[in-house]
């Protein structure tokens, strides 16, 4: 029999390559994973045999991910660059997937036409579209595709026992494992085990007359008959799975993933978090959901019984945290490490043959006959139209999901950043990106500079990172308080990581950078703001690495391509030989078990109808709920939620549409009012939670207490507003707030300030900065310093003065010791200091010793994380001594000192007052530093407050500060002999520069307060200017 080419398959391939091949150029680079694979590929392109990569996480090993896909991209990149390599591999993966589905379908259904249908459907299946165009999981796709190619070979080995098939199947398994490690492991369980069951069934079938005659006894007999083959295959594939990526397993054993699990949407309860439900359940299943009864019915027929079990487990596991079963089934650890979306992907792929079968029967088989007989031809066409429409809708919807809900920021031009890093030896320091999304991997691939952050969290090593459920520091704002808390630890102690530059694509992080002591350098031409930190030493030229044995490196470098080569020779080559010999080819064994598709079960059709109606009801109910929830004017709560939501996303026109139309507030006025408000809350806050409590409500009027929680880069803000709403023509509206009517007396203001410019190196040269061009470090003096224990946590407090004649950037580093002079903790001053001091200016400071400050980091991080709370676990060794290092560096930026305290009112509970901005720049975030003193005017504690609203020029802003109460405070050590300034003893500097210091001169102007612990208070002002002109 001459085998004819399968037209459907060819059509599928043509359409598939045209459709996906064109669209990958618009989607792949904005997927979650593709650029990470590109980064790995860049690593192999530069050092094929050296697995250690310095660029991320202060060094990690690429042996933490199977290398085949990365090495393929790397090899192809030598021809046309990394992106050429990536797109080529993506094209190959598309071809592999379509042909894989064809072969798998042929194996399952034994019908070429059905398999052809399945391959066409596979092209548009929403799970494949999602995996490729949204997730960009190339290794996963290649893994599963090659596995599908392997399944017929495994079947033939088990069935016929010809060694040829053993070798071809094993060769394909080895390709699978080198491209993706999880696929063959779970593929064993979910694809190969049921396949073995199917082979046994087929063998049994041959021994008896009908399917019904297959009893358990017959089955067992057949099993023992095939036992040797099964075992030999199982053992050998185990050897291959372990052997081919042996370095990976060794690395996993040596560096077990000990990190805190990172939340993943696929583990959510899909009913609660509907976005996760959409992405990880609805989209991959797509139109298959309607066919679930058919799929289960068919897979639970006797021949496919084990596939039925397998797909059931896969379906249930894919539901993530919606039910308790996956957690129970997988166990707590596996549940928290695995991303469960892969189970849904496999289930949907497993469904594809039957999907093809259903469509075949629907289009030209018995189902068509049945429906037409029962309901008429029009109904059949109508249903066909609806199904096709839904199928295409899911495909288009999935393709365009990232258009409507971009998962990544706009594409960033990397060249200016790369040039910046190459200039002036900037790549001698580590950098970090903020708000780049997965594009950070593309930047890392293009530069030699190293990043503190990274994009492959399984390979992280720093305890600061592994103890936090933060995927990347880069997008920490999406992880709320924990994310920001983790980020600020890096920002506060950048010296530890030689971390000097930040590329910020997100204004959100600006305040935290400023208050952690960073300064703006300049904006690159692609709009990326560069921040730098002074006083950070460059990365040392020799860096530590974890070396592995040479044979492991060679194995890792050679094995993946070797497996491909062998698989190629064994599979394709033999095909060629067969073709050339033009020998009549024997029909594969599995084609002998054909289904004649003559009688579609009526019951099944009925069930499918009922199921479809149930689904339709669920969908309509969901849409209804969605509408009620989103109809902004439906209730006062809805109106407020919509109003706050609009403000949060800066959709001011939407917000205006919710404003009481009778309040005579024109939109122009509203926009103007919004445009003049600046500050932490209006410019840098993200709404985290909102709670509305209707305090009173009549038919047309409501007062609502709104409790809002805002995530800001600096701290969590809880705010309570009272809003009144009115009902007009059946719709609820929000009454607008009063605006500040204050008018400053003048129109035009002038002011004189001293400006500074440090030109760095004076001569343009590639050499290191010449010693003549290095400025003297400004001389600072530590006026006081003491170690205190406040409510159980330790802190260094004191005052520092710039006694030089130039403005200084101040870095304070405190170290705590116990009685045996053992170092316990070290940390830098974060928010509690004015990081920039003018000549002779004084700042109070406080150094908190947060989680990572302590030597025993793992122990000291509390279980529930709060960045403002850093009580370390009780030590056997208590800190009793301290060392304080202060470093000054000349800085000309952020020297705005125009804010004053213009009014104060002090009660026992709180300090209220007003700040007046007398300068010419708008203060975006004012910060107040409060220093507490006892009755003898001894310094006891330093506290701070950020004012949520900004201060416009020549205007006032009120503040409200609750005075600390019921503190337990204990001064542990006041000995200042270990205080150093720029490496020199503080005492000698003090004696030399200010020998006749007037001690405690400003004690006469300390503000007295009524308090049990404290008698005086000092208020200092620090200001962040968001837009310095």
């Amino acid at each position: 029999m001459k085998e004819t080419s399968n037209k459907y398959l060819i059509v599928a391939l043509l359409i598939g390559i045209a459709f996906h091949g064109t669209s990958i150029f618009f989607t792949l680079e904005t997927t979650y994973d593709a650029l990470i694979h590109l980064f790995f590929a860049d690593h192999y392109a530069n050092s094929w045999f050296e697995p250690w990569n310095y660029k991320w996480y202060t060094g990690f090993t690429v042996m933490s991910y199977p290398p085949l896909v990365h090495q393929s991209i790397a090899a192809l990149s030598l021809i046309g660059g990394l992106k050429f390599g990536m797109f080529t591999v993506a094209l190959i993966s598309i071809v592999l997937f379509i042909t894989g589905v064809y072969r798998f379908s042929l194996l399952i259904t034994s019908n070429r036409t059905v398999a052809g249908y399945a391959s066409i459907l596979a092209v548009f299946s929403s799970s494949f579209v999602e995996t490729l165009h949204i997730f960009g999981q190339l290794p996963s796709i290649i893994g599963i595709s090659v596995l599908m190619h392997a399944l017929p070979e495994i079947y033939l080995w088990l069935k016929t026992g010809r060694y040829k098939y053993l070798f071809t199947s094993l060769s394909l398994i080895s390709v699978t494992v080198t491209s993706h490690h999880v696929t063959p492991i779970f593929g064993m369980i979910f694809f190969i085990f049921p396949l073995i069951g199917m082979v046994i069934m087929d063998v049994s079938r041959e021994q008896v007359d009908s399917v019904k005659a297959i009893t358990f006894k017959v089955f067992i007999n057949s099993f023992f008959k095939l036992f040797k083959r099964i075992i030999s295959f199982g053992m050998l594939s185990l050897v291959i799975i372990v052997g081919c990526i042996l370095p990976y397993w060794i690395n996993s054993k040596n560096n077990p993933i000990t990190q805190v699990p990172i939340p993943h949407g696929s583990r959510d309860n899909f009913l609660e978090i509907t976005s996760s439900g959409l992405v990880f359940f609805l989209i991959p299943w797509g139109v298959l959901l309607i066919l679930l009864p058919y799929i289960f019915y068919r897979y639970y027929s006797k021949r496919y019984l084990f596939f039925g079990l397998s797909i059931t487990i896969l379906t249930v596991l894919g539901t993530g945290g919606t039910t308790f079963i996956p957690r129970l089934f997988l166990g707590e650890t596996a549940f928290n490490i695995l991303t469960l979306d892969r189970f849904t992907l496999w289930a949907s792929i497993m469904s594809l043959p039957l999907f093809g079968e259903f469509v075949y029967r629907f289009v030209e088989g018995d189902l068509k006959q049945l429906i037409q007989d029962k309901f008429g031809a029009i109904y059949h066409r109508l249903i066909g139209g609806i199904l096709a429409g839904l199928f295409l809708f899911m495909t288009i919807f999935t393709m365009s999901l990232s258009y409507f809900r971009p998962s990544q920021p706009q594409q960033i031009k990397m060249l200016p950043i790369i040039n910046f890093l190459n200039q002036d030896q900037h790549d001698n320091w580590r950098y970090m990106t903020l708000g780049f999304g997965d594009q950070m991997a593309w930047l890392s691939a293009q530069t030699n500079a190293m990043s503190v952050d990274g994009n492959y969290h399984s390979a992280r090593r720093l305890p600061e990172l592994t103890t936090r459920p933060i995927e990347r520091l880069e997008n920490s704002k999406f992880k709320g308080v924990e994310g920001i808390g983790s980020l600020q630890q890096f920002l506060t102690t950048p010296e530890k990581y030689n971390f000097k530059y930040i590329f910020s694509n997100d204004k959100f992080y600006d305040p935290i950078l400023y208050f952690c002591g960073w300064q703006r350098l300049r904006q690159l031409e692609n709009g990326i703001q560069v921040w730098e930190k002074l006083n950070v030493p460059p990365v040392s030229s020799i860096l530590p690495k974890e070396d592995v044995a040479k044979w492991l490196k060679i194995l890792w470098g050679i094995m993946p391509f070797l497996t491909v080569l062998i698989a190629f020779i064994l599979n394709i080559q033999m095909l060629w030989i067969n073709t050339l010999k033009t020998k009549a080819k024997a029909i594969p064994e599995f084609l002998k078990f054909q289904n004649n598709y003559t009688k579609f079960s009526r019951g099944l059709l009925r069930i499918t109808h009922v199921w479809s109606i149930i689904l339709a009801i669920i969908v309509f109910y969901g849409v209804h709920l969605f509408y009620i929830k989103n109809d902004a004017h439906h209730s006062p709560e809805n109106a407020l939620l919509a109003y706050y939501d609009a403000l949060d996303f800066k959709e001011f026109e939407t917000a205006y549409s919710l404003i009481n139309p009778e309040s005579n507030l024109p939109i122009a006025q509203y926009m103007l009012e919004i445009s003049v408000t600046d500050g932490l809350l209006s410019s840098y806050a993200k709404l985290d939670a909102i709670e509305t409590i209707v305090t009173s409500k009549t038919d047309s009027l409501a007062t609502v207490k709104v409790n809002t929680k805002w995530i800001t880069p600096l701290e969590k803000i809880n705010k309570t507003d009272y809003k009144t709403l009115v009902k007009l023509k059946g719709k609820w509206y929000v009454n607008p707030e009063d605006i500040d009517l204050d008018l400053p007396p003048d129109q035009l203001y002038s002011d004189n300030v001293t400006k500074y410019f440090n030109q760095g190196r004076r001569r343009i040269t590639t050499e290191q900065t010449h010693h003549e061009d290095v400025l003297k470090q400004p001389v600072l003096e530590i006026l006081s310093a003491k170690l205190v224990k406040h409510n159980g946590s330790y802190a260094l407090i004191g005052e520092v003065q710039n006694i030089d004649n130039v403005p200084a950037d101040v870095v304070l580093k405190g170290t705590l010791y116990n009685d045996d002079n053992k170092q316990l903790a070290t940390y830098n001053a974060k928010y509690h200091v004015k990081h920039k001091l003018m000549p002779k200016e004084v700042s109070s400071f406080k150094i908190n010793f947060e989680g990572i400050a302590w030597s025993r980091t793992q122990d000291s991080i509390p279980k529930t994380f709060n960045p403002d709370e850093f009580t370390p676990v009780e030590f056997e060794e208590q800190p009793t001594k301290f060392n304080l290092q202060v470093a000054g560096n000349v800085s000309g930026s952020d020297l705005y000192k125009g804010t004053s305290i213009s009014d104060l009112d002090i009660s026992e509970e709180q300090i209220t007052g007003k700040l007046f901005n007398s300068g010419l720049a708008e203060v975006t975030i004012p910060q107040l530093l409060f220093t507490y003193y006892d009755q003898h005017k001894n310094m006891l504690w330093v506290d701070h407050q950020f004012i949520a609203e900004g201060i416009r020029q020549q205007r006032q802003q009120s503040f409200d500060y609750p005075i600390l109460k019921n503190d337990t405070i204990q001064v542990i050590n006041e000995d200042m002999k270990n205080c150093f300034v720029n490496g020199l003893p503080n005492v000698s500097i003090s004696n030399k520069v200010v020998p006749n210091r007037i001690e405690n001169q400003t004690h006469t102007v300390l503000q007295p307060i009524e308090n049990k612990n404290y008698s005086f208070i000092k208020i200092e002002i620090n200001t962040y200017i968001g837009n310095p002109n």
């Binding site: 009173s696 009549t698 009027l701 409501a702 007062t703 009144t724 009063d738 500040d740 009517l741 204050d742 008018l743 400053p744 007396p745 003048d746 004189n752 300030v753 001293t754 010693h771 003549e772 003297k776 006026l783 003065q801 710039n802 006694i803 030089d804 004649n805 130039v806 403005p807 001091l837 003018m838 000549p839 002779k840 004084v842 020297l895 000192k897 125009g898 004053s900 305290i901 213009s902 009014d903 104060l904 009112d905 002090i906 007046f916 007398s918 020549q954 006032q956 030399k992 520069v993 200010v994 210091r997 007037i998 001690e999 001169q1001 400003t1002 102007v1005 300390l1006 503000q1007 208020i1019 002002i1021």
Partner: protein, 400 residues
């Protein structure tokens, strides 16, 4: 007695020790008698040799060591010292690696002609007053980058204001150095040096002012009314250090304002040409301010006092029929003009002596209007307290 034996033993041992070397010493002898060379010269050590032996020569200086093979020329061993050694000044030790342990040393001195003056000056800025100094270190070097010999004369020249100084220092331990002390004036010291006719480039030390001394402050304002709107400006006198130098621009001055209720307000500024100008908005109620400025730990001003007169002695309150709209005003200022927009008016609502709420509004064209809605204030009796510009009015038992 024992001691003698010990000595004797020692002598015998010494003699025995020196015998073999004596025996062979006749074979190889040093011919080159010079022990001092100039850097850059071609240096070779010649040895006479009667044996056919060709031992290597081990040569070592402070940069490193090497082994040299000889060239043999009619029985004379000629060891050419490589440039890497002959170009560097210092002592070179050598030793023949023959059976005898013939060894010696020679010195290489620099060529006494400076081609470069390696100069270090730091710190680049110092404080006026004559105690702070910057150190100049000069290392004159020859064409092979060797420091010139000790006791070479180096002239250090510096210019400050009208003075121009020259001073000769001698090189010692391969460097010449001089501490350049500041004088009492601020300015710029230009420094250069010269050695054997070769001049360095110009170096700069900035002399910055010493710590500030006490000063006076003054104020200026458009009027002395507490309108909560105008700006009062505080200025310092010209602040100088003890030597009469202006303090450097940018020096930070804190102004502390103690008001009548003993609250300490604060404004600050930085100096330009010795004068700091700080601004403060007028209070919105009658007040008395005592202002004192500080440069913390270093200098302060004498306090000054200033008073602000109230602009409003009384105001009208107008209730609507249901008492739910309260209009305050007209708020008239000192010339009976309407107060500038933005004067804060507060309305506190009490019920049974308990404060329920305080509403604040800014005045607009002389008026402020409060609306008490039925939601927050159901129909009951309340006491209303209205306050603006320090004037308070109370309306007890208002039925809303």
């Amino acid at each position: 007695m024992t001691l003698k034996y010990t000595y004797l033993l020692f002598y015998v041992w010494m003699v025995l020790l020196s015998m073999p070397s004596y025996a062979n010493n006749g074979a190889i002898e040093l011919i080159t008698k010079t022990t001092q060379f100039e850097a850059g010269q071609s240096i070779s050590l010649k040895f006479s040799n009667t044996d056919n032996e060709t031992p290597s020569l081990y040569v070592s200086n402070s940069y490193g060591s090497t082994i040299i093979k000889p060239e043999i020329d009619s029985g004379i061993l000629n060891y050419q010292i490589p440039q890497s050694i002959s170009n560097k000044t210092g002592v070179v030790n050598w030793k023949l690696l023959a059976n005898n342990s013939l060894s010696g040393a020679f010195t290489i001195i620099s060529k006494q002609k400076a081609v470069a003056l390696e100069t270090y000056l730091g710190p680049p800025s110092i404080q006026a007053g004559g105690t702070d100094y910057s150190m100049l270190v000069v290392i004159p070097t020859d064409y092979l980058d060797n420091p010139l010999a000790d006791s070479t004369k180096v002239t250090v020249k510096h210019q400050f204001l009208d003075n121009q100084n020259e001073e000769v220092v001698l090189m010692k331990n391969r460097i010449a150095y001089k501490n350049i002390y500041s004088e009492t004036k601020t300015g710029r010291i230009l420094v250069s040096s010269e050695c054997l006719g070769f001049n360095s480039k110009e170096y700069t030390v900035n002399v910055l002012p010493a710590i500030p001394t006490d000063f006076n402050i003054s104020h200026s304002r458009n009027h002395d009314y507490a309108d909560g709107n105008q700006i009062t400006t505080f200025s310092t006198s010209i602040i100088k250090d003890q030597f009469g130098n202006l303090v450097s621009d940018g020096t930070y001055i804190d102004f502390f304002i103690t008001n009548r209720s003993n609250h300490i307000l604060k404004t600050s500024s930085t100096t330009i040409k010795g004068i700091a100008v700080a601004k403060m908005i007028h209070p919105d109620h009658e007040d008395q301010w005592t202002v004192k400025a500080f440069v913390e730990g270093m200098a302060e001003s004498k306090p000054i006092e200033l008073a602000y007169k109230t602009i409003i002695s009384d105001f009208n309150v107008l209730f609507s029929e249901d008492y739910r709209t309260v209009t305050i005003g007209p708020l008239k200022s000192f010339m009976n003009q309407m107060v500038p927009d933005g004067l804060e008016v507060s309305l506190s609502v009490f019920q049974n002596e308990i404060k329920l709420n305080t509403l604040t509004k800014s005045s607009f064209e002389g008026y402020a209007t409060f609306k008490l809605d039925t939601n927050n204030f159901p129909s009951e009796n309340y006491t209303l307290k209205i306050e603006t510009a320090g004037v308070q009015k109370t309306y007890p038992n208002v039925k809303l």
